[in-house]
């Protein structure tokens, strides 16, 4: 038994060595991935247990940051609820609409399809393109939306779209949805393209009677990897919304009305130089994202069943 396991271990070791070329090929990616992604995550988790003002050495404070965060920080709970509202609305809605739109334009002729894919995907790649919404929602009475409403006689004094808590959340959700046709959408388009036509033909022989059945029983199951990828992307982006709200409504927004967890993190990290606390927030966010990803994966397994 002992000799056996030794032999097995030896074999295993030899195995690793005999694959050195593969590991060599992997190395560039691994090194970069490890140093720029894995390591920072580990460091950030560690920093979450310290007081760290960036300029001086971190001091260990145990669970203090987490206690403060969960039990005392009122703004954090507000940020969590804002993020949840945003994630619950923009995540699923964005995800499903991306899927449906991809499915719809898949039927079109290739040239038109390419053009549409480009048009729909363009907002996401063009960086801060959502700043044009700032123009649209300008609070100046000569701003686009305000002057239009004024012209139509609906309002007589400007609406403060970006600083009145009444409107801010709606604006941020609208803009987030506009931006949600991202990489997930592209992967759906690609997934739909990759479906074997003969499979669909076989399906119709076997008694699939309408497009919905086709979608559920044939198309979706055969593009599970893309669905999963799209889901991960949409969850990550839904939870890490922050840039949009701070760019549109200012940092911080009026009465923290659209303050998200990301904003809260930035507020502590860059404005107040409390990196330890910010790391704790990041760790929490990280954990929430992993858990919801696991949930989604479970859900997606049910597709087609």
């Amino acid at each position: 038994m002992n000799t056996l396991s030794k032999a097995a271990a030896g074999k295993k070791r030899r195995g690793i060595l005999s694959y050195w070329r593969d590991y060599l090929a992997l190395a560039p990616f691994f090194i970069i991935f490890f140093t720029l992604t894995v390591l920072p995550v580990i460091i950030s988790i560690c920093l979450g247990f310290t007081y760290y003002n960036i300029l001086e050495t971190p001091k260990f404070v145990g669970l203090n940051n987490y206690i403060q965060l969960i039990f005392h920080d009122k703004i954090f709970s507000k940020a969590v609820s804002n993020t949840m509202v945003l994630a619950v609305i923009t995540g699923p809605v964005g995800y499903i609409s991306a899927l449906i739109i991809a499915w719809m334009i898949n039927e079109l002729n290739p040239k038109l399809r390419t053009a549409l894919v480009f048009m729909i995907y363009a907002p996401t790649i063009s960086g801060n393109a959502y700043l044009i919404w700032q123009l649209l929602f300008s609070e100046d009475s000569h701003g686009y939306l305000n002057s239009m409403l004024k012209y139509l006689g609906i309002i007589d004094s400007p609406i403060y779209w970006l600083s009145d808590p009444k409107y801010m959340m709606t604006v941020v959700i609208t803009v987030s949805l506009w931006l949600s046709m991202g990489t997930g959408f592209l992967s759906f388009v690609a997934g739909l393209q990759g479906i074997n036509v003969s499979l669909l033909e076989a399906g119709s022989m076997d008694g699939i009677s309408n497009r919905w059945e086709e979608l559920w029983h044939l198309i979706l199951p055969s593009m599970k990897p893309q669905l999963l990828f799209g889901a991960v992307m949409s969850i990550t982006s839904a939870f890490s919304v922050g840039a949009i709200s701070s760019a549109l409504c200012g940092m911080p927004s009026t009465d923290y009305a659209v303050h998200t967890v990301m904003n809260h993190l930035n507020d502590y990290g860059t404005t107040r130089f409390q990196m330890g606390y910010a790391s704790a927030i990041a760790t929490m966010l990280f954990a929430v994202m992993i858990i919801s990803n696991k949930l989604i994966q479970k859900l997606l397994r049910k597709v087609g069943e």
Binding site: N53, I54, L55, E56, S138, E139, D140, S141, H142, G143, S147, K150, S157, P158, Y160, S163, D164, P165, K166, P252, T254, D255, T271, R272, F273
Partner: protein, 920 residues
């Protein structure tokens, strides 16, 4: 790469416009224009002999003194002082007036004077007569890498003469004044001091046309010399802004910049304002007829030609030399000076000569003047309609313009006729239909439509305003006459012009050499010196500006000290650099809040430890250092500061018969009055009101927020009531609303004056500035406190060369460095790039218009600044929260303020604990 192609604004136009509007001091009422003056004096004439005034007979007042200088007897004419001259021998007639003057050594600032006749201004243009200075370039120096660095012009203090003419360049000939024996001619200095050596009158003789000129030299033969003068070897320039540069874009430029930078051209958009002249010296070996060929580039004006006045030995050889055209074309070309009929031949005696090229608008001048008059008319019409309808008239409403303002029909008709005439004349001159025509055509079409149906005016009012604005911008651009010159050739009149060589392969190898060279250029360093201490300074700014600073450092700082400076164009990454231990020794151009933010975490070195710190702080307004103090130490020096002023539209206030408000109580009256005419007031902020009520931000240097005091609550109530009760706009674009008249009154930073000059030329001369309104105290005095904020520069705590870094900061905030910096930036990037320097001595020398200077000086008597304290970032965020709570949702002032103060105080206490400060 041409680095100087940034849009440069017509400094002189702005200056002239401001001067003509602002510096009216001899008499307040508006004088006629020169055109009207010339018409009214046209009948006088017949004089042939000039005369010079006797200095000893002149009457001095206002602080002018007779002095003896190395150049002879003179009058030292200080700002606002005058000298009266009489000419007892003169016969009645029309004369040009020539002034002989010299600038004072080491005094910066423009030389400007007013000319009065018999105690009043004869015509408007006399209000800002420009007296040019004279500068010269030394040899370019080379840095350790062999690159030539453009030298800075040095002023030459010679006695100069100027025939009094239009400062804006709208007239090609000098002004003619009607003078007789009894006339008293007054010269009044309105800007920097200068010596006046005399005044002379001479009859005006127009230069002969070219065909007469050439007849006179018909018997002369062609010369034989071939002379090439490099543009950069200019011997004299009239404005320090006329720059010489390195153009390394082509191997055909003489001399070509193959490996290192070589200064090889002159001009660009730094040499475009009418009146700016460059003079070259050359020597001919043989008398005879010569022609002049200029290797030039003019790809600036989008279709239109630009003009230069050609002077040989200081005078016009013939009439046509008044405006020599340089056509618009991509790239360099050789232009032999001439007209449609052929090349100009010029007779040159054997010996030394000078050739001067002076910017001028040429034949366009007349149209520019007429267009400006038309703009005034159009503005008047616009203002009348605007007062009735507001900027966004109700399309459903009948305003009854026809019955209320029947006179508008005539005004439109006149505007229509004038515009048509100008546009037709312009086409005759330029011969091309360029995009500029569209501006005229649009406006003509609109005015014609308005004329036929007055009721259609309200609907088109906003496009009418933007059309006027487009026309004004067009006119403003006509003042720009840019041109680059590589070299000038003086050639025998019968010889051929040799063209520059630059074949394909030459260009290819040139480009390749440049590419290779780019790998070895050291951008951050100028010297390889190892004996001196090297400090690293970060300059977080755009390339042009950092290039200016780098050159300044090299010329003025490292050249005579024991310190060399390595500059980096870095910004925004101070924090990472400090954490990584790779921080620079000093950083300049930082925000106001940064120093204390870093200082409380121990990252900055306190400057008050240096023995001469107290001495250095005298350079600034004391309160500008307030935001850099923390725990008893000062961590930064200010380098540019804001000063809020009250901007108002003089034309609108005049038309409404309103006085400009000086206190907040008067503001209420003015706001009520303005609102009846659809106009608004803007720029009111909490800080100002808070400080004027005697309130403050924090108690005991930041222990807690002081917003819960009675003064603060009162100020907050006043502030919010402007929006909640008076309906002032919360969000607006000041520039657009000010120019349209919608917001004729607002508090803005004084640098806005510059932007208005540049971006809103159509209202040039229609606005002015004053110190901000004050709060009347119970004892009747007025508290005019305004809040200022500054940019900062500081030394890092981990720096190994703190002393050297301090030497650098001292130099950088000195008057000389700051003034050179703002001047050079302005010369290169245009007037709008002028820096709001903190150094008081430098500020006094920056050429702001008179009224801006006066207002800024007065406002500087009552300035304050906000302290930066731990947790201070919570104040601004909750002030705006509280504001929105009250204005948007009608919250109770006191309750709201007190609630938010609670949040602010919580954060402050938290931070104070963090930094180990007492919290009580």
């Amino acid at each position: 790469m041409r680095r100087y192609v940034f849009k440069r604004v017509t400094a002189a136009v702005c200056a002239a416009a401001v001067l003509s509007a602002a510096l009216l001091t001899v008499s307040a009422e508006k004088a006629p224009s020169y055109r009207e003056y010339a018409e009214s004096t046209a009948a006088i004439g017949g004089n042939t002999k000039g005369a010079a005034a006797q200095l000893k007979d002149c009457v001095l007042s206002g602080g002018a003194q007779a002095v003896n200088t190395a150049d002879g007897e003179a009058i030292l004419l200080k700002t606002d002082s005058t000298a009266d001259f009489t000419f007892p021998e003169i016969e009645e007639g029309l004369y040009t007036v020539t002034l002989y003057y010299r600038a004072l050594e080491d005094s910066a600032g423009l030389l400007r004077c007013e000319i009065g006749i018999n105690g009043s201004i004869p015509f408007e243009e006399c209000r800002g007569i420009r007296l040019d200075r004279k500068y010269r370039y030394g040899k370019p120096q080379k840095d350790a890498y062999g690159n030539e660095i453009a030298p800075q012009p040095e002023e030459v203090y010679d006695v100069l003469s100027t025939a009094v003419s239009d400062a804006g360049g709208k007239r090609l000939d000098p002004f003619l004044f009607a003078v007789d024996k009894t006339t008293v001619l007054t010269v009044k200095n309105i800007n920097a001091d200068f010596y006046l050596y005399g005044v002379s009158l001479s009859p005006f003789a127009e230069a002969a046309p070219y065909k007469d000129y050439i007849k006179a030299y018909a018997s002369e033969r062609s010369g034989t010399d071939k002379i090439k003068i490099e543009g950069e070897d200019v011997s004299e320039i009239s404005d320090a802004g006329i720059g010489i540069f390195c153009d390394d874009s082509s191997p055909s430029i003489s001399p070509a910049a193959w490996k290192t930078k070589v200064i090889n051209i002159i001009g660009g958009e730094c040499w475009q304002t009418p009146g700016e002249a460059a003079t070259w010296e050359f020597k001919t070996e043989k008398s005879g007829m010569y022609k002049i060929s200029v290797r030039a580039r003019q790809d600036y004006t989008g279709g239109l030609f630009t003009n230069r006045k050609l002077l040989i030995d200081g005078s016009l050889p013939f009439k046509e030399a008044n405006a020599v055209r340089f056509p618009y074309k991509a790239g360099w070309y050789d232009l032999t000076l001439g007209n449609e009929d052929g090349v100009y031949c010029i007779y040159l005696e054997e010996g030394t000569h000078t050739l001067t090229l002076e910017c001028t608008m040429g034949e366009l001048a007349d149209f520019v003047e007429k267009t400006q008059e038309t703009i005034e008319l159009l503005n008047l019409i616009y203002r009348k309609v605007f007062m009735l309808t507001g900027s966004e008239p109700d399309s459903m409403r009948d305003y009854g313009i026809e019955s209320k303002m029947p006179e508008l029909k005539g005004s439109f008709k006149e505007a229509h006729t004038r515009l048509k005439e100008i546009s037709g004349g312009m086409n005759g001159i330029t011969g091309v239909k360029s995009s500029d025509n569209v501006i005229f055509e649009d406006l003509i079409r609109q005015v014609a439509a308005f004329e036929s149906d007055l009721e259609s005016v309200p609907a088109g009012i906003s496009s009418f305003q933007s059309n006027i604005s487009a026309l004004a911008t067009w006119v403003n651009n006509r003042y720009n006459q840019p041109l680059d010159i590589d070299y000038i050739q003086i050639l025998p009149s019968d010889g051929a012009v040799q063209r520059a060589q630059g074949g394909f392969f030459k260009r290819l190898s040139f480009g390749f050499t440049k590419f290779l060279g780019s790998f070895s250029s050291a951008y951050g360093r100028r010297q390889k010196d190892t004996e001196k201490t090297e400090i690293e300074v970060w300059i977080p700014t755009a390339r042009d500006t950092s290039e200016i600073i780098r050159n300044l450092i090299w010329e003025k700082f490292t050249s005579d000290g024991n310190i060399t400076v390595k500059t980096k164009m870095m910004g925004g990454s101070e924090l990472s650099a400090i954490v990584a231990g790779r921080q620079p020794d000093a950083i300049i151009m930082q925000t106001e809040s940064e120093p204390v933010n870093y200082a409380m975490r121990g990252a900055l070195y306190p400057l008050d430890g240096f023995s001469d710190f107290e001495e250095i702080t005298k350079r600034f307004v004391p309160v500008t250092l307030k935001p850099f103090r923390y725990n008893g130490h000062t961590y930064a020096l200010p380098e540019s500061m804001s000063v809020p002023l009250l901007f108002y539209r003089t034309d609108i206030f005049e038309e409404l018969g309103l006085d400009v408000p000086q206190t907040w109580n008067e503001i209420y009256d003015a706001v009520a009055e303005l609102q009846t005419k659809n106009m608004q007031f803007g720029g009111v902020d909490f800080n100002t009101l808070l400080y004027q009520h005697g309130g403050e931000y924090y108690r005991e240097h930041g222990k807690s927020s002081a917003f819960d005091t009675e003064q603060a609550i009162e100020a907050f109530g006043q502030w919010t009531s402007f929006f909640a009760d008076y309906g002032l706009p919360v969000s607006y674009n000041f520039l657009n609303r000010f120019r349209s008249g919608e917001m004729p009154l607002a508090i803005q930073d004084y640098t806005m004056a510059n932007q208005l000059e540049m971006l809103a030329p159509e209202i040039s001369g229609c606005w002015s500035v004053l110190p901000i309104p004050g709060t009347v105290n119970s004892d009747g005095t007025v508290n005019r406190t305004a809040l200022t904020s500054s940019k900062s520069c500081y030394i890092l705590a981990k720096s190994k060369h703190r002393k050297e870094a301090w030497e650098f900061l001292k130099w950088w905030t000195s008057a000389d460095a700051q003034l050179s910096f703002t001047t050079r930036r302005e010369n290169r990037l245009g007037t709008v790039a002028r820096v709001a320097v903190s150094n008081l001595e430098a500020l006094a020398a920056v050429p702001w218009s008179r009224e801006v200077v006066t207002a800024v000086r007065e406002q500087m008597q009552s300035l304050d600044a906000v302290e930066q304290v731990p947790g201070g970032y919570f104040t601004s965020r909750h002030v705006s929260n509280a504001f929105r709570q009250v204005v948007y949702h009608g919250g109770d002032v006191r309750e709201t303020v007190l609630e938010y103060v609670k949040y602010i105080n919580e954060e402050i206490t938290e931070r104070r604990k963090e930094f180990g400060l007492p919290t009580d």
